[in-house]
Symmetry: C2
Subunit: 451 residues, 2 copies
C-alpha cells in the first residue's frame, strides 16, 4: 500500500469541511471520478489504482500531531475546537462503486462513484485523484508498449526516472496490470508479488580489469540467471565474450547503438557460439514507437526493457481525471442533482452507471452511461459495482495477477484498430436521454443572476 498521511490533501478540502461543520451541513453526497478527454496518443485507458486507493481509505484517520498542526494554521484561527475534536473520530464510512481495476475505459465515463457524508466524500478527493490518475496513466501507456511488443516480453525498468520512489512503485504496479511481465523494482516484487528482473550495469563491467572477468564472475554467481550487459566497450566483442562466459547463458542486454542491426549480429554470434537459448534484452529510451519499428525491421529481440518512457508516460505525463459533485440529499429521500456551468467544462448531474454492449461474438460494441436509477438496458454488462460499503471493502482485493489477467481479457474484446499505436478509432460512448433530462432540470434549478 502506498504510504499516505491524511494530510496529503489540498488545504481547501479541510477548510470546506470546517465551513460545512460550522453550518451543521453533512448531507449524503455523491461524487464521480471521470476523465474529461483522452490524453494525446491514447484511444483508450486502462483503469488502475483502485485497490491501492481502497486500501488507503480503509485506514484513513487523523493523528493527534496532524490535528495539532491543522489547529496551528492561521486559516483555522476562527474555527471552533469542536471541529478538531470531530476529526479525531474521522473515518471514511461511505460507499464506493467503481469499474474493475484493469478495465478498458474511455473519456467521459464514470470510473468511480463515492456516496458518503459530504465531509468524508470531500476530504478523499485529492488522494483518490492522485493515485488513480497516475496509475491509470501509466497502465494506459504500458498497454500500448505491450501491444507494440507483439507478444514479446516487456519489463519495466523506470524507477530511476519515475517521479520519486513511490511513483516508481506505482509505475511498476500499473505496468504489470497492463501486461508487463516484470519490473526491476525490488520493493514492487516484495510488496505486490510482481516478478523482479534485472541484468547488470556498466559499472559492474568496468569494475573488473577485463570484460570477460566481469562476465565470468557474474555468471558464476548466477549460474541460471546471468543476463550480461555487452555494450560497455564493443557490443559484438561483448557478445562473443558473454557466450564464452558460461555454458548456459540466460541472455545478453544491448543498451546503445543501432539495436536492430546489433541484435541481428548478436543473435548470429550467440547461435554460432552454442547459445541458441540465450535471450536478447534491449533497452535505451525505448517506447512503443521504437519497439514497433524494431520489430518491423526484424530485430530478434526477445525482451524489451522500458524505463523512462513507461514510468513517466512521457508523451502524456498527466491524466486529467476530475472528481465532481453530482448529487446531494438535501432532505431525507430528496436527492438534488447538481452540476457546475463553467465554460468549457460540461458536466452531467446524478449518480450514474456505465454499461457495455457486446456483439454476439463477444466484441465490445459501445458503452452507455445512464443514471444509476435507470433500469439496466438489455443485453449489456454493468461496469460499475459496489466495491466498498460503510467504509469496508465488499470483497477481498483481487491479486495483481488476477487484475492483469482481467485486463488482458477485457482488452482482447475490443477491435484491433483500437489497440493500434496511431489508432483514430473513436469507440462509441453514449449517454441516456434521462441524463440529458436531468441536466436540463439541474440547469433550470441553477441560481440565476440577481437581475
Amino acid at each position: 500500500m502506498v504510504q499516505v498521511s491524511i494530510l496529503q490533501t489540498d488545504l481547501y478540502q479541510l477548510t470546506m469541511m470546517a465551513a460545512y461543520f460550522r453550518e451543521g451541513m453533512n448531507p449524503t453526497s455523491t461524487f464521480e471520478l471521470f476523465v474529461r478527454k483522452l490524453p494525446p496518443n491514447r484511444s483508450y485507458l486502462i483503469f488502475a489504482g483502485l485497490e491501492e486507493a481502497l486500501e488507503v481509505l480503509e485506514d484513513l484517520h487523523f493523528s493527534t500531531k496532524e490535528i495539532d498542526y491543522l489547529q496551528s494554521l492561521p486559516s483555522f484561527a476562527h474555527i471552533d475546537k469542536s471541529f478538531f475534536e470531530a476529526l479525531r473520530n474521522f473515518r471514511f464510512e461511505g460507499e464506493i462503486w467503481a469499474a474493475k481495476e484493469g478495465e478498458v475505459v474511455f473519456a467521459g465515463e464514470p470510473l468511480l462513484r463515492v456516496t458518503a457524508p459530504l465531509l468524508e466524500a470531500q476530504l478523499i478527493e485529492t488522494m483518490l485523484l492522485s493515485v488513480i490518475n497516475m496509475s491509470t496513466m501509466i497502465a494506459s501507456k504500458a498497454a500500448r508498449v505491450v501491444s507494440a511488443a507483439q507478444g514479446r516480453d516487456v519489463v519495466e525498468f523506470g524507477t530511476r526516472r519515475a517521479h520519486g520512489p513511490e511513483a516508481g512503485l506505482l509505475a511498476a504496479r500499473s505496468s504489470y496490470i497492463a501486461g508487463c511481465v516484470g519490473t526491476s523494482n525490488v520493493e514492487a516484487g516484495h510488496r505486490y508479488g510482481i516478478p523482479v528482473v534485472g541484468t547488470c550495469a556498466h559499472s559492474f563491467i568496468m569494475s573488473f580489469a577485463k570484460e570477460e572477468d566481469a562476465f565470468r564472475s557474474y555468471a558464476a554467481a548466477f549460474p541460471e540467471h546471468a543476463t550480461l550487459l555487452i555494450d560497455t566497450y564493443d557490443t559484438l566483442q561483448g557478445a562473443h565474450l558473454a557466450a564464452k562466459a558460461t555454458p548456459k547463458l540466460r541472455g545478453v542486454r544491448l543498451d546503445s547503438g543501432d539495436l536492430a542491426t546489433l541484435s541481428k549480429k548478436v543473435r548470429v554470434i550467440l547461435d554460432q557460439e552454442g547459445q541458441p537459448d540465450a535471450k536478447i534484452v534491449a533497452s535505451n529510451d525505448l517506447n512503443e514507437e521504437k519497439i514497433a519499428q524494431l520489430l518491423k525491421e526484424g530485430a530478434p529481440i526477445d525482451i524489451f526493457g522500458v524505463g523512462t518512457e513507461l514510468a513517466t508516460s512521457k508523451d502524456a505525463p498527466a491524466l486529467g481525471g476530475v472528481y465532481k459533485l453530482v448529487a446531494q440529499e438535501d432532505a431525507p429521500g430528496h436527492v438534488r442533482y447538481v452540476l457546475k456551468n463553467s465554460p468549457g467544462k460540461p458536466s452531467y448531474p446524478g449518480a450514474k452507471q456505465l454499461y457495455r454492449f457486446y456483439s454476439d461474438e463477444g466484441h465490445a460494441k459501445h458503452d452507455l452511461i445512464t443514471l444509476a436509477e435507470e433500469h439496466p438496458p438489455q443485453g449489456s454488462e454493468a461496469l460499475l459495482s459496489c466495491v466498498m460499503r460503510d467504509g469496508k471493502r465488499t470483497r477481498p482485493a483481487p491479486t495483481l495477477q488476477e487484475i492483469q489477467a482481467y485486463s488482458k481479457s477485457t482488452l482482447a474484446r475490443f477491435p484491433q484498430e483500437l489497440r493500434e499505436l496511431a489508432s483514430e478509432l473513436h469507440y462509441p460512448v453514449q449517454r441516456s436521454a434521462k441524463i440529458d433530462e436531468a441536466r436540463q432540470v439541474a440547469l433550470d434549478a441553477m441560481p440565476k443572476s440577481m437581475d
Copy 2:
C-alpha cells in the same frame, strides 16, 4: 522525509552486490551524478532533492523481512548465506560531495559525487536518481513559472495530478525551492513548513441552494482568509456576490473562461464594490507560457495557482540524470579512472569538481569542470562541497526557506536572457585539459578486442 524502503532499488544493484561479495571485491569507488543534456525548453536546471536524499541515506538499512524476501528470490538461489548476513549490517558510510540544493546547474556538470565501498555506492543509485531527477525536474519547471509571473505570487496546486501522493509532496517541496510562495498540499506544510494555501471548490458552491449562501458561509468561517471561487455559475455575477459576502474579502478565484478579460472585469467589480484589497487568483491548466501571455495582455491577476503543468513538469516530464562509475581504488593509493565507451553516451573519468567564474559585478560568466585533484582555478567558486562523511551529514540540513533564498540569489546572478522562456542562451561549461587527458588514458587502458 520521503518514505523509502531499501528495496526501492533495481534488482541488478543487489545482484551486482552479491557478485562483488562473492569475489571479495569491495574497492572504494567513486560515482558521479549528472544530466547528459538539458530537457526541451530548459536553458538551466535548479538542483533539488539533495537534502531528502541525504536523510534517506542516513537511515538506510535492511529489515529481516526484506532480507528474507531477497533470499526467497530465484535469482539468489546460488548466493551464499554470508551475503545475506552481511546485509544485516549494511549502512551507507561513504562520502558525498554535492552542489548546494537550489543551485543553478547545467548539462554535463557533476552535481553529486559518491565515494564509498563499491557495494554501498552501487545500492543507492536508484534512490538517488529517482529523488534527485524528479526534484530537479520540478524545481527547474517551477523556476520558469516563477520567472514568467514577474513577481506575482505562484502557488503550487498539483497534487491531484502528480504521480501519486509522494510525488505531490516532492513537487510541492521542489516548487517552493524555486520560488513558489506556497502549496495546497497540507502534508507539505506539515512536513516541510511550506505555507499552505487554498480557496474553495465548485462542490462547495454547489452544496448550497444559492451561490451567495455558499460565499457567506465560507466567509463567516474564515473571516480573514476567504478566497471565493466565482466561476461556478456566472463569473461576473459571482464577483458581485463575493464582494457583498463579507466586508473584508481576501480574494476571488477564476478557474475557467478567458482569464485576461474576466480578470479585468472582475477587478473593476471588486473595486466598485469596495473591495480594492481583494486579490484575484487564477487557475485552470496554467503554465509559464499562459502566465506570460496573461501578463502581456495586462491581466490584473495577483496570484497564479499552477497545478498539473508544474507538478508533472508536463512539457519535460523526465529528467535523464545518470549515475556513473568514474574511479575505483584497485589497490591502496592506486586509483584507476574508468569510463564506458557506449556509442552516443560519452563519459569522462575521474572524480571531479565544478567551478563557477563571475564577472567583477558578480555575474556568472562560465563554469569549469576539473578533476577534483586539480588546483582550484583562481577567481572561481567551487560548487561541490562535502555534505556527508562516514555516512553522516557534515552540517545540519538547511531549512527549505534557506534553500529557497539561496536559489533565488544564485539565479539572479545569471543573465536575464538565460531566464527567458524561449532562451537559446547556451551558458558556457568548459572541461579542463586534465579531464581530456584522463579520458585518453582511460581509453588507452580499456580492454581491447580479442584479436
